[in-house]
Amino acid sequence: MSNVVDRNSADIAAKTTQIALTINGLDRRLELDPRTSLLDALREHLHLTGTKKGCDHGQCGACTVLINGRRINACLTLAVMHEDDDILTIEGLGSPGALHTLQAAFVERDAFQCGYCTPGQICSAVGMLAEAKAGWPSHVTADVGSRDIVLTDGEIRERMSGNICRCAAYPNIVAAIRDVAEDART
């Protein structure tokens, strides 16, 4: 357990906690109010603003990051709960000069407009493709007992439904993900 720094013993609110997070392969040390969400730790303390705050309540998916390879909503978890976890954000996935295949597919398919939900869509897609590869079923899988998961457009849509795009680039997002999923198969 991390040690607690007590700046003002009379006021519990002033207590911050020192934590160490591993983000995009780098160890980062932070002194945080325990109330700090992982999302706010990234954006306001580490200035990793690629992860977006859309609703702050797990209702839009803009804050999606990968924890130990799994996609989650960074707004609904406390930073302090993620010591020893491997945190991957959009910045760790690729950069403008060296895009991840999904990032490149999003550009090619014009799978975004305003771009605000986009990092979350891409991180979500990374996690989603891993889930499908692991044979996880979805709500639209006809037989949840079957291990043979075919990533149809319908499967992609259902599995990506936790990421809202108000510009409604949905058909292009599905196309971009389909491109990458097909490339991975061939």
Partner: protein, 331 residues
């Protein structure tokens, strides 16, 4: 969100001890607790993080059942091969809930304890007997489209939002609890959540400090299983109504039936009246209709949610038709 102190529990015994202090709460996935803390609905002063306790395993039981650790996340349970083949209704229910991201974080224990989606509950400016006992119920006379049609009271018409718990209710699940006194007890899930009555703020039979350690599934019941969720958009939405059905039929006659409903009551609702109307009856439209009528004979609408009564009946009718007729077209 009010200030709180945080500690990570190292084992279950330490956790129940740690949570015994005033204002303390467990946090697991946090997907509902933090949501409500941000809105000042939940106000813990101390959080005991139990998400890393060794309660994530899904274990075979000697009787053929499964013991699902309370800290197993929803997606792991849904993807578990044994759940998918032996308890497909549970897998289907989990996959019908929330989003991929939320399922990766939300725990089984936390799912059972999630709070209602009643908008007045999550608005500190509105009267709500669940949040502030005695203040009144804003949903009665207010916008109550998503509210309860069964088992509600004049104090509260909120619904329980879980899909998972509906399937588990149909599966006769037991909840395994570790008490503040370190004693373990089991409660049938059907008895775990309470109806609102005059105390809608008391939602479960959990004792102070008690922690959910596992959900125990008995061996799979005979028959086919199906979970059907009806909602306003195709995904990432709470149920208007949902049905978990497990029905066995021999030579056209129903021999065993378990039915549970979501989105209709303050708790996952076991449809005992529907079950009685099914067992020993022919697997026919007339039987399904009788079951649907029996299930919702005591249903009461509150205005905007009146449609749920007919919707729930139809959803049950069709789910029964599908679960008893394998060739029935799936929507």
């Amino acid at each position: 969100m009010r200030p709180f102190t945080y500690e990570r529990a190292t084992d279950s015994r330490a956790a129940v001890t740690a949570v015994s202090r005033a204002g303390a709460k467990y946090i697991s996935g946090g997907t509902n607790l933090l949501d409500l803390m941000k809105l000042d609905i939940e106000q813990p002063s101390h959080l005991v993080d139990i998400s890393r306790l060794p309660l994530k395993d899904i274990d075979e039981l000697p009787d053929g059942g499964l013991r699902i650790g309370a800290q197993a996340v929803n997606s792991d349970v849904a993807a578990d091969g044994r759940v998918r083949t032996r308890y497909p209704v549970l897998s289907q229910a989990l996959l019908a809930g929330a989003s991929g991201q939320l399922r990766n974080k939300a725990s089984v224990g936390g799912n059972l304890l999630q709070r209602t989606r009643c908008p007045y509950f999550s608005d500190t400016a509105a009267a709500c007997n669940k949040r502030e006992p005695g203040s009144g119920c804003s949903a009665i006379g207010g916008f109550n489209r998503i509210h309860a049609i069964l088992g509600a009271s004049d104090a509260c018409i909120a619904t329980h939002p879980s899909d998972m718990a509906v399937a588990m209710t149909a599966l006769d699940a037991q909840v395994e609890l570790l008490g503040a006194d370190q004693a373990v007890r089991h409660v049938a899930l059907v008895d775990f959540h309470r109806l609102p009555g005059n105390t809608p703020h008391i939602e479960t039979v959990l004792q102070p400090g008690e922690m959910i350690t596992a959900v125990v599934l008995p061996p799979p019941p005979p028959g086919r299983q199906l979970y059907r969720k009806v909602r306003d958009r195709a995904s990432y939405a709470f149920a208007l109504v949902s049905v978990a059905a497990i029905v066995a039929a021999e030579r056209g006659t129903i021999t065993a039936a378990r039915v549970a409903f979501g989105g209709v009551a303050h708790k996952p609702w076991r449809g005992t009246e529907a079950e009685a109307a099914l067992i020993d009856h022919p697997a026919s439209g007339a039987t399904f209709r009788a079951a649907a009528d029996a299930a919702f004979a005591s249903a009461v609408g509150r205005g905007h949610n009146n449609f749920k009564i007919e919707l729930a009946k139809r959803t049950l009718y069709r789910t029964l038709a599908q679960v008893t007729q394998p060739d029935e077209d799936t929507p």
